[in-house]
Protein backbone atom coordinates (compact mmCIF):
# COMPACT_ATOMS: atom_id res chain seq x y z
CA UNK A 1 0.00 0.00 0.00
CA UNK A 2 2.71 2.44 1.01
CA UNK A 3 4.72 1.89 -2.15
CA UNK A 4 1.73 2.65 -4.32
CA UNK A 5 0.76 5.93 -2.68
CA UNK A 6 0.72 8.90 -4.98
CA UNK A 7 -0.01 12.48 -4.01
CA UNK A 8 -1.80 14.81 -6.43
CA UNK A 9 -1.28 18.46 -5.57
CA UNK A 10 -4.11 20.67 -6.79
CA UNK A 11 -2.97 24.21 -7.57
CA UNK A 12 -5.80 26.51 -8.62
CA UNK A 13 -4.20 29.64 -10.04
CA UNK A 14 -5.31 33.10 -11.01
CA UNK A 15 -2.64 35.63 -11.98
CA UNK A 16 0.25 33.76 -10.36
CA UNK A 17 2.82 34.04 -13.13
CA UNK A 18 5.52 35.11 -10.66
CA UNK A 19 4.72 32.68 -7.87
CA UNK A 20 3.94 29.60 -9.93
CA UNK A 21 7.53 28.75 -10.89
CA UNK A 22 8.63 29.12 -7.29
CA UNK A 23 5.85 27.02 -5.79
CA UNK A 24 6.41 24.30 -8.39
CA UNK A 25 10.17 24.33 -7.73
CA UNK A 26 9.52 24.06 -3.97
CA UNK A 27 7.02 21.25 -4.49
CA UNK A 28 9.37 19.27 -6.69
CA UNK A 29 12.16 19.74 -4.15
CA UNK A 30 9.97 18.76 -1.20
CA UNK A 31 8.68 15.62 -2.86
CA UNK A 32 12.05 14.60 -4.26
CA UNK A 33 13.61 15.03 -0.82
CA UNK A 34 10.89 13.03 0.92
CA UNK A 35 10.68 10.37 -1.78
CA UNK A 36 6.92 10.26 -2.20
CA UNK A 37 5.39 9.92 -5.65
CA UNK A 38 3.54 13.01 -6.82
CA UNK A 39 2.02 15.10 -9.57
CA UNK A 40 1.10 18.79 -9.66
CA UNK A 41 -2.19 19.68 -11.31
CA UNK A 42 -2.34 23.34 -12.29
CA UNK A 43 -5.88 24.61 -12.72
CA UNK A 44 -5.56 28.04 -14.24
CA UNK A 45 -8.74 30.07 -14.63
CA UNK A 46 -7.84 31.97 -17.77
CA UNK A 47 -5.33 34.26 -16.06
CA UNK A 48 -4.75 37.38 -18.13
CA UNK A 49 -1.16 37.67 -16.90
CA UNK A 50 0.06 34.59 -18.78
CA UNK A 51 0.18 32.12 -15.88
CA UNK A 52 -0.71 29.30 -18.25
CA UNK A 53 2.32 30.01 -20.47
CA UNK A 54 4.53 29.88 -17.39
CA UNK A 55 2.91 26.56 -16.49
CA UNK A 56 3.68 25.23 -19.97
CA UNK A 57 7.33 26.20 -19.58
CA UNK A 58 7.47 24.35 -16.27
CA UNK A 59 5.91 21.36 -17.98
CA UNK A 60 8.77 21.31 -20.50
CA UNK A 61 11.30 21.36 -17.68
CA UNK A 62 9.69 18.82 -15.34
CA UNK A 63 7.70 16.69 -17.75
CA UNK A 64 4.00 16.29 -18.27
CA UNK A 65 3.73 13.41 -15.82
CA UNK A 66 4.75 15.74 -12.99
CA UNK A 67 3.13 18.95 -14.22
CA UNK A 68 -0.41 18.37 -15.40
CA UNK A 69 -2.31 21.28 -16.93
CA UNK A 70 -6.07 21.46 -16.61
CA UNK A 71 -6.91 25.08 -17.39
CA UNK A 72 -10.36 26.63 -17.50
CA UNK A 73 -11.74 29.50 -19.50
CA UNK A 74 -12.47 31.91 -16.69
CA UNK A 75 -12.52 32.39 -12.94
CA UNK A 76 -14.99 29.80 -11.75
CA UNK A 77 -14.40 29.35 -8.05
CA UNK A 78 -12.54 26.98 -5.78
CA UNK A 79 -15.09 24.19 -5.35
CA UNK A 80 -15.39 23.57 -9.06
CA UNK A 81 -11.62 23.89 -9.43
CA UNK A 82 -11.18 21.02 -6.99
CA UNK A 83 -13.82 18.95 -8.77
CA UNK A 84 -12.14 19.65 -12.10
CA UNK A 85 -8.71 18.86 -10.70
CA UNK A 86 -9.74 15.62 -9.00
CA UNK A 87 -11.19 14.28 -12.24
CA UNK A 88 -7.68 14.17 -13.67
CA UNK A 89 -5.81 13.24 -10.53
CA UNK A 90 -4.03 9.89 -10.70
CA UNK A 91 -3.00 9.90 -7.06
CA UNK A 92 -4.90 8.25 -4.22
CA UNK A 93 -4.28 11.30 -2.04
CA UNK A 94 -4.88 14.94 -2.86
CA UNK A 95 -3.13 17.99 -1.41
CA UNK A 96 -4.87 21.32 -1.69
CA UNK A 97 -2.95 24.51 -1.12
CA UNK A 98 -2.55 28.12 -2.22
CA UNK A 99 -0.20 28.97 -5.07
CA UNK A 100 0.86 32.34 -3.68
CA UNK A 101 3.68 30.99 -1.46
CA UNK A 102 1.74 31.44 1.77
CA UNK A 103 1.74 27.65 2.12
CA UNK A 104 5.15 25.96 2.12
CA UNK A 105 5.52 22.52 0.53
CA UNK A 106 7.97 21.52 3.25
CA UNK A 107 4.97 20.74 5.47
CA UNK A 108 3.54 18.19 3.05
CA UNK A 109 5.70 15.31 4.23
CA UNK A 110 4.55 16.13 7.78
CA UNK A 111 0.94 15.93 6.55
CA UNK A 112 1.71 12.58 4.96
CA UNK A 113 3.32 11.16 8.08
CA UNK A 114 0.48 12.46 10.24
CA UNK A 115 -2.04 10.85 7.91
CA UNK A 116 -0.28 7.52 8.18
CA UNK A 117 -0.27 7.68 12.00
CA UNK A 118 -3.95 6.88 12.26
CA UNK A 119 -5.01 6.59 8.63
CA UNK A 120 -6.75 9.96 8.90
CA UNK A 121 -9.25 10.80 6.20
CA UNK A 122 -7.97 14.34 6.11
CA UNK A 123 -5.08 16.29 7.60
CA UNK A 124 -5.43 20.02 8.07
CA UNK A 125 -2.64 22.56 8.42
CA UNK A 126 -3.29 24.83 11.40
CA UNK A 127 -1.98 28.32 12.07
CA UNK A 128 -3.56 28.43 15.51
CA UNK A 129 -2.12 25.58 17.51
CA UNK A 130 1.21 24.03 18.32
CA UNK A 131 3.96 26.08 16.74
CA UNK A 132 1.79 27.11 13.84
CA UNK A 133 1.70 30.82 13.10
CA UNK A 134 1.59 33.65 10.61
CA UNK A 135 4.06 36.15 9.18
CA UNK A 136 2.98 39.54 7.88
CA UNK A 137 -0.16 40.24 9.89
CA UNK A 138 -0.63 43.40 11.92
CA UNK A 139 -2.50 43.55 15.21
CA UNK A 140 -5.85 44.32 13.61
CA UNK A 141 -5.63 41.33 11.29
CA UNK A 142 -4.63 39.03 14.16
CA UNK A 143 -7.52 40.22 16.29
CA UNK A 144 -10.00 39.66 13.47
CA UNK A 145 -8.55 36.24 12.77
CA UNK A 146 -8.53 35.01 16.37
CA UNK A 147 -11.88 36.64 17.05
CA UNK A 148 -13.55 35.00 14.07
CA UNK A 149 -11.97 31.66 14.90
CA UNK A 150 -13.15 31.90 18.50
CA UNK A 151 -16.74 32.66 17.48
CA UNK A 152 -16.59 29.74 15.04
CA UNK A 153 -15.29 27.40 17.74
CA UNK A 154 -18.01 28.42 20.19
CA UNK A 155 -20.85 28.17 17.69
CA UNK A 156 -19.78 25.14 15.69
CA UNK A 157 -17.43 23.18 17.99
CA UNK A 158 -15.80 21.71 14.88
CA UNK A 159 -13.03 19.65 16.45
CA UNK A 160 -10.37 21.39 14.34
CA UNK A 161 -8.43 24.46 15.39
CA UNK A 162 -8.12 26.15 11.98
CA UNK A 163 -11.33 26.03 10.00
CA UNK A 164 -10.60 28.58 7.30
CA UNK A 165 -7.20 27.17 6.42
CA UNK A 166 -6.79 25.80 2.90
CA UNK A 167 -3.60 23.76 3.22
CA UNK A 168 -4.83 20.20 3.56
CA UNK A 169 -4.26 16.59 2.60
CA UNK A 170 -7.28 14.46 1.77
CA UNK A 171 -7.81 10.88 0.72
CA UNK A 172 -9.02 11.34 -2.82
CA UNK A 173 -12.34 9.57 -2.24
CA UNK A 174 -12.98 11.71 0.82
CA UNK A 175 -12.32 14.96 -1.05
CA UNK A 176 -14.60 13.83 -3.86
CA UNK A 177 -17.40 13.09 -1.43
CA UNK A 178 -16.99 16.37 0.45
CA UNK A 179 -16.78 18.69 -2.54
CA UNK A 180 -20.10 17.33 -3.83
CA UNK A 181 -21.82 18.21 -0.57
CA UNK A 182 -20.41 21.71 0.00
CA UNK A 183 -22.24 24.68 -1.40
CA UNK A 184 -20.48 27.70 0.13
CA UNK A 185 -17.86 30.02 -1.32
CA UNK A 186 -14.57 31.50 -0.18
CA UNK A 187 -13.52 31.09 3.46
CA UNK A 188 -16.80 29.45 4.29
CA UNK A 189 -16.21 26.72 1.72
CA UNK A 190 -13.13 25.54 3.60
CA UNK A 191 -15.08 25.69 6.86
CA UNK A 192 -17.96 23.73 5.40
CA UNK A 193 -15.56 21.03 4.17
CA UNK A 194 -14.36 20.35 7.70
CA UNK A 195 -17.84 20.51 9.23
CA UNK A 196 -19.27 18.10 6.66
CA UNK A 197 -16.25 15.85 7.13
CA UNK A 198 -17.09 15.59 10.83
CA UNK A 199 -20.76 15.04 10.08
CA UNK A 200 -19.90 12.18 7.76
CA UNK A 201 -17.68 10.63 10.38
CA UNK A 202 -14.35 11.29 8.68
CA UNK A 203 -11.28 11.55 10.90
CA UNK A 204 -9.23 14.73 10.96
CA UNK A 205 -5.58 15.14 11.91
CA UNK A 206 -3.74 18.45 12.37
CA UNK A 207 -0.24 19.69 11.63
CA UNK A 208 0.96 23.17 12.70
CA UNK A 209 2.07 25.25 9.74
CA UNK A 210 3.55 28.67 9.17
CA UNK A 211 1.56 30.94 6.88
CA UNK A 212 3.65 33.63 5.17
CA UNK A 213 1.32 36.35 4.00
CA UNK A 214 3.04 38.45 1.37
CA UNK A 215 -0.11 39.93 -0.11
CA UNK A 216 -1.72 41.29 3.04
CA UNK A 217 -0.86 44.84 2.09
CA UNK A 218 -2.58 44.49 -1.28
CA UNK A 219 -5.58 42.36 -0.53
CA UNK A 220 -7.54 43.86 2.30
CA UNK A 221 -9.86 42.00 4.59
CA UNK A 222 -12.78 44.31 3.93
CA UNK A 223 -16.21 44.69 5.40
CA UNK A 224 -17.69 42.62 2.63
CA UNK A 225 -15.47 39.63 3.38
CA UNK A 226 -16.38 39.84 7.05
CA UNK A 227 -20.07 40.06 6.14
CA UNK A 228 -19.80 37.00 3.87
CA UNK A 229 -18.00 35.14 6.62
CA UNK A 230 -20.67 35.98 9.19
CA UNK A 231 -23.41 34.96 6.77
CA UNK A 232 -21.66 31.68 6.06
CA UNK A 233 -21.09 31.00 9.74
CA UNK A 234 -24.78 31.51 10.52
CA UNK A 235 -25.69 29.25 7.60
CA UNK A 236 -23.50 26.47 9.00
CA UNK A 237 -24.80 27.12 12.52
CA UNK A 238 -28.38 26.72 11.37
CA UNK A 239 -27.92 23.76 9.06
CA UNK A 240 -25.30 21.46 10.62
Amino acid sequence: MGADDKYSVLLPTYNEKDNLPIIVWLLVKAFTDSGYDFEIIVIDDGSPDGTLDVAKQLQTIYGDKKIVLRPREKKLGLGTAYIHGIKHATGNYVVIMDADLSHHPKFIHQFIEKQKEKDYDLVSGTRYSGNGGVYGWDLKRKVISRGANYVTQVLLRPGASDLTGSFRLYKKKVLEKLVQSCKSKGYVFQMEMVIRARQLGFTIGEVPISFVDRVYGESKLGGNEIYQFAKGLLYLFATT
Partner: protein, 93 residues
Amino acid sequence: MTKLVEWLGGAGLFAGVWAYLFISTPVGNSSDFARHFVLFLPFYVLLAFAVISVSIIAWRVYTFNDCEEAAKELKQEIADAKADLIKKGFKLD
Protein backbone atom coordinates in the same frame (compact mmCIF):
# COMPACT_ATOMS: atom_id res chain seq x y z
CA MET B 1 -29.64 18.02 15.63
CA THR B 2 -28.20 21.23 14.25
CA LYS B 3 -26.13 23.57 16.42
CA LEU B 4 -28.98 26.07 16.28
CA VAL B 5 -31.40 23.55 17.73
CA GLU B 6 -28.83 22.60 20.39
CA TRP B 7 -28.47 26.22 21.43
CA LEU B 8 -32.22 26.80 21.46
CA GLY B 9 -32.55 23.72 23.62
CA GLY B 10 -29.85 24.99 25.95
CA ALA B 11 -31.49 28.40 26.10
CA GLY B 12 -34.82 26.77 26.89
CA LEU B 13 -33.23 24.75 29.68
CA PHE B 14 -31.59 27.86 31.12
CA ALA B 15 -34.89 29.75 30.91
CA GLY B 16 -36.62 26.95 32.78
CA VAL B 17 -34.02 26.89 35.56
CA TRP B 18 -34.07 30.66 35.77
CA ALA B 19 -37.89 30.82 36.02
CA TYR B 20 -37.81 28.17 38.75
CA LEU B 21 -35.16 30.05 40.71
CA PHE B 22 -37.07 33.27 40.31
CA ILE B 23 -40.30 31.79 41.53
CA SER B 24 -38.68 30.05 44.45
CA THR B 25 -36.70 33.00 45.92
CA PRO B 26 -38.85 34.35 48.76
CA VAL B 27 -40.18 37.90 48.54
CA GLY B 28 -39.26 40.21 51.40
CA ASN B 29 -36.64 42.70 52.57
CA SER B 30 -33.99 40.23 53.64
CA SER B 31 -33.91 38.50 50.29
CA ASP B 32 -33.90 41.55 48.02
CA PHE B 33 -30.32 40.82 47.02
CA ALA B 34 -31.12 37.22 46.17
CA ARG B 35 -34.11 38.26 44.10
CA HIS B 36 -32.09 40.94 42.36
CA PHE B 37 -29.33 38.49 41.61
CA VAL B 38 -31.68 35.89 40.16
CA LEU B 39 -33.49 38.51 38.10
CA PHE B 40 -30.27 39.66 36.52
CA LEU B 41 -28.74 36.19 36.26
CA PRO B 42 -28.84 36.02 32.45
CA PHE B 43 -27.13 39.39 32.28
CA TYR B 44 -24.40 38.27 34.68
CA VAL B 45 -23.91 35.06 32.72
CA LEU B 46 -23.56 36.96 29.45
CA LEU B 47 -21.22 39.46 31.07
CA ALA B 48 -19.02 36.68 32.44
CA PHE B 49 -19.01 35.00 29.04
CA ALA B 50 -18.04 38.27 27.35
CA VAL B 51 -15.20 38.91 29.79
CA ILE B 52 -13.88 35.36 29.48
CA SER B 53 -14.15 35.48 25.67
CA VAL B 54 -12.31 38.77 25.34
CA SER B 55 -9.59 37.44 27.65
CA ILE B 56 -9.20 34.28 25.61
CA ILE B 57 -9.03 36.19 22.33
CA ALA B 58 -6.58 38.73 23.76
CA TRP B 59 -4.35 35.90 25.02
CA ARG B 60 -4.45 34.14 21.67
CA VAL B 61 -3.58 37.33 19.81
CA TYR B 62 -0.72 37.96 22.23
CA THR B 63 0.68 34.46 21.78
CA PHE B 64 0.09 34.27 18.04
CA ASN B 65 3.36 33.01 16.58
CA ASP B 66 5.12 35.40 14.23
CA CYS B 67 6.95 33.28 11.72
CA GLU B 68 9.97 35.49 11.12
CA GLU B 69 12.17 32.49 10.35
CA ALA B 70 9.76 31.15 7.79
CA ALA B 71 9.64 34.47 5.97
CA LYS B 72 13.43 34.70 5.86
CA GLU B 73 13.76 31.13 4.66
CA LEU B 74 11.21 31.76 1.95
CA LYS B 75 13.06 34.82 0.69
CA GLN B 76 16.22 32.77 0.33
CA GLU B 77 14.40 29.91 -1.34
CA ILE B 78 12.83 32.24 -3.89
CA ALA B 79 16.32 33.36 -4.88
CA ASP B 80 17.55 29.74 -5.04
CA ALA B 81 14.53 28.72 -7.09
CA LYS B 82 15.01 31.49 -9.62
CA ALA B 83 18.69 30.68 -10.07
CA ASP B 84 18.02 26.98 -10.50
CA LEU B 85 15.14 27.49 -12.89
CA ILE B 86 17.20 29.75 -15.12
CA LYS B 87 19.86 27.03 -15.23
CA LYS B 88 17.18 24.59 -16.32
CA GLY B 89 16.21 26.84 -19.19
CA PHE B 90 13.30 28.69 -17.68
CA LYS B 91 12.72 32.18 -19.05
CA LEU B 92 12.12 34.48 -16.11
CA ASP B 93 10.30 37.73 -16.84
